[in-house]
Symmetry: D2
Subunit: 335 residues, 4 copies
Amino acid sequence: MIRTAILGASGYVGGELLRLIAAHPRLRATKLFGESKAGRTVAEVHPHLAPVYADTTFGRFDEAALEDVDLVFAALPHGHSQALAATILARGIPFVDLGADFRLDDAATYERWYGHAHEAPDLLGEFVYGIPEINRVAIRGSKAVAAAGCYATAAILALKPLVDANIVDSKDIIVDAASGVSGAGREAKEATGFSTVDGSFAAYGLLSHRHTAEMEMALEARVLFTPHLVPMTRGILATCYAEATGAGDPLEALKAAYADERFVHATDAAPATKWVSGSNGVQLTARYDDRTGKVLALSAIDNLGKGAAGQMIQCANLMLGLDEAAGLTACGVYP
Amino acid sequence: MIRTAILGASGYVGGELLRLIAAHPRLRATKLFGESKAGRTVAEVHPHLAPVYADTTFGRFDEAALEDVDLVFAALPHGHSQALAATILARGIPFVDLGADFRLDDAATYERWYGHAHEAPDLLGEFVYGIPEINRVAIRGSKAVAAAGCYATAAILALKPLVDANIVDSKDIIVDAASGVSGAGREAKEATGFSTVDGSFAAYGLLSHRHTAEMEMALEARVLFTPHLVPMTRGILATCYAEATGAGDPLEALKAAYADERFVHATDAAPATKWVSGSNGVQLTARYDDRTGKVLALSAIDNLGKGAAGQMIQCANLMLGLDEAAGLTACGVYP
Amino acid sequence: MIRTAILGASGYVGGELLRLIAAHPRLRATKLFGESKAGRTVAEVHPHLAPVYADTTFGRFDEAALEDVDLVFAALPHGHSQALAATILARGIPFVDLGADFRLDDAATYERWYGHAHEAPDLLGEFVYGIPEINRVAIRGSKAVAAAGCYATAAILALKPLVDANIVDSKDIIVDAASGVSGAGREAKEATGFSTVDGSFAAYGLLSHRHTAEMEMALEARVLFTPHLVPMTRGILATCYAEATGAGDPLEALKAAYADERFVHATDAAPATKWVSGSNGVQLTARYDDRTGKVLALSAIDNLGKGAAGQMIQCANLMLGLDEAAGLTACGVYP
Amino acid sequence: MIRTAILGASGYVGGELLRLIAAHPRLRATKLFGESKAGRTVAEVHPHLAPVYADTTFGRFDEAALEDVDLVFAALPHGHSQALAATILARGIPFVDLGADFRLDDAATYERWYGHAHEAPDLLGEFVYGIPEINRVAIRGSKAVAAAGCYATAAILALKPLVDANIVDSKDIIVDAASGVSGAGREAKEATGFSTVDGSFAAYGLLSHRHTAEMEMALEARVLFTPHLVPMTRGILATCYAEATGAGDPLEALKAAYADERFVHATDAAPATKWVSGSNGVQLTARYDDRTGKVLALSAIDNLGKGAAGQMIQCANLMLGLDEAAGLTACGVYP
């Protein structure tokens, strides 16, 4: 039994971690931290988890809380991990952080996209970027993983084999992606209110969304990324465009790259986000367009699954030497 | 390993059965029948299940198909089971039917609500009504179960302990319930098209919905039932009203009745359907209103879970002597 | 040209008033007040209205603002009107208030349902309850109207003719109603966040919703009312149950009562909220159930139309001697 | 009074035409044709229009039906207009067709995208492409207009001024667009069923959507277009990418091009489809990205408004010498 602490356990990713851990053969959620919900029970905060966690209560994090813990997951608002990471790393506890704090390998790039200096630049090198399919060996040997952003995960999985095989020109990539509302977190905001979002589709963060930096780092490419908000709760679809080089068929390249992956499925069908809702799955396709000389590649994930909690557990499984798919074998819930 | 045949495997309930069986420790879906999708693969028809079932194809049912089968699930359009039941029962294979064909214990009542004579009235007595929480012993000893209707399950679980304890007057019960659209099945109809349902809420089947008969049979009560269609995919909420007798507190009665049940949770919180979405759970509450002398009782289920596939598996587990909760322990998926 | 001030112009009802006034032959929105949005433009706060109001800005209300005003609409958070009403009434400006502050005719009833003493009990008698179809003469002669609550409007229009004609027993009425999320206003709350509401249906305010008091007052009846939240933005459906007396057919009574009404349509079809979305329309039906001896009556409105802004303008039209339907003739927007 | 015949009056565009005509100062819908709904009333088929059209019935089209008609609107399934156009044109009645049949000016291009030879290639030259903002003079002098496709309208309005001013390279344009489900029409299909679409986002028609041809024709450009289906009923957002030439600021170009247009609004805000829902409005923005050297341009319309019925009426107003905005001044319905 692996005793697991969750920082940010009262948010949506925290709830998804708890849901997945309930079905995990080895992990047990033994310490739940949630500042704004401290003292309240899981049944109150996550009613869907009441059958399993019932009267477990959320606490406030302090360093002593890390005793008797074998694994730490953090799903905190941006910036919090920069203050906490040194403490966790000092204890040598395997740590999977979903924050953007330690995803980029370079403090200057961080500052350019996030608008302020990094608070713990010396720790950037301690973290491994957390997408197992492109970084498995490093994750397996690591004590600290910065799980990738949800949009970044979708786009990178669709594009990385194409860039690596030089099937597309890495200097001219467009990622047009759309997310369900849970990606914006649980905090109440007018922008994510039901009446605002229902019946509406819009882009946001034009030219400036921070996941661009992750995509550029992981792909070693130049990326223009436009996120959109969809009136649905879960799911991300990334529709990616790039100039073709003529070096090969993009769908065949995806199929080959992921032939042995358990969570990534490349087919000739245009994927729908609902196919992977509630799961750790990724559905991909790609096409070459001879009219325009471009490659079109699409990727669907659940932003709370492969885009967050699923990926965190997949990374932890690797770090701990467990079966990589432990706790993650459930199919999507459809319809 | 229990070799399971599914009739109607290409519909929504069929897909949910396949999803749940994929996580079941003993059941294996070995024969999938779906007339309209015969020859197609699971990956085409249920893309969310592709990771597990991939190239398994749907077949057309014939009697020979029942060889090498240890369990039969049927989720067919209304009326089909009347023609098939004799064949299945003759082989002595445990059979769980989700159709309405064998739920009522009386052919005359069937004819009154369904508008035509029953085709196999002599088999009505062979089937046990399938709600384990109210009928466990009979299900355990049975070879044929008629799993309850989705609305009926929600209403009966909220009301049965109150009627049985004489806390409410069984002669004056109103069930006002609302369902997600998947309850109408997978067939394309204008009434369940996205543009029809989105942004709309309406009642239907006024005074005449057939689940009324099940409620009246199981509760031994007089029920006025009004179903509504909600712009959501899954979930049923039953809001039930009855005259109080003064014989006890309704919430305490629900808590006591379900204290040992693994899937039914009675609390003082007003339940939301999303709390149980994707699960076999039931959330209940009740109140006594001293202003009007009435009892209000509410029940939330997933119409495809406890209202269909979950309940079918729960019944099968009992019939087969397995752990009643096998394959059904997943929490709801939220948000 | 009738110069109109709107208090609470930045909320959803305020926006709907502005939308309707833009199409009104006589009203002009000349002063817009919205404390939280003071200094911002209509284009920023209500982008859908930008083509008409563009750079008009919201101000903070003070008494001087009432100069040069011929009509006042207030759509403020509960309680604000109690402080403002005396000022407005003292100037003799026709005033239509959507708050619950002056709907009840009795301070004791107000205190019982709202949990605190009324701050201006002597003004209660100055206000006329604002549902033109049941109170037209009084509204026409009044300077102050308290427009009815959205749920109350739906329920009262379905039930009033049945109670008045003694077709149902006024001592035993159940109103089970469901609303779109815009009824909860524009303020950001977790309970009305997209991820909370999407895919979910739930009751709230069990036994205690304040619109019960209005229904009981207007119907002179005993009412048990349960509101529900539907994952849609606009619309209310009220499903009403009452004991039949045998004194007549309920649908015929509704048709007769509303034969000359321009906004109320009683037919034998079960109404859907989307039929009246964006309009001031009301769709009704009713049935007598000889099995249970009860009457079922249903009513659909747009909570922001007939349940709020539309009704306010209809009342104002009466107060000002205009055509009652001025500015309100648009059909619903469907699908 | 202009007597208007509507072919396809029972579909969603037909309903929207009827809704808009009800508020039009000069048009009257005098003949309604809908083959599949012949004999049924408007109240049955379009319940939201019952207050205006009530017992008007749908008929079957025959040539005699064109007597006593001053204007013909057609919103028929693809291909029907090719058979009907000669008859209508022979009578000299102004004709606005929403079908794709006569939008392209070249039979070979038609055949390439639609997969079959055009049935009336000699009539292609009779039709003017119907987007008033880019083709006003020609529409004004025409007897036959082929109103533009919904996606095409959104993309062309966002891009045309940028191409014309040489601000973007016309050889390298990507249109990534997303539509509400009503764009797929009223016919029941599993692909547009509520349970299929709700909670899902997907692309379709990869590399092959026929509106590409219209965009290329109107823009004189090379376009790669990817449509997506959004779980909402109305609205299109087009997110367009092109290589910048450095010749000017794209937003300023849009503002200048549409400064005198009543329906098109270019601002620096990222538009949401709900801002224009129910209206004939178009919301645009654009940005130059100096990181990648690309231009990003966005456009939001209501697919049933400016993307269909609104544009048809706007064209008809021009053809008939009426105020171009007659019947089209309503703001969007929000939230």
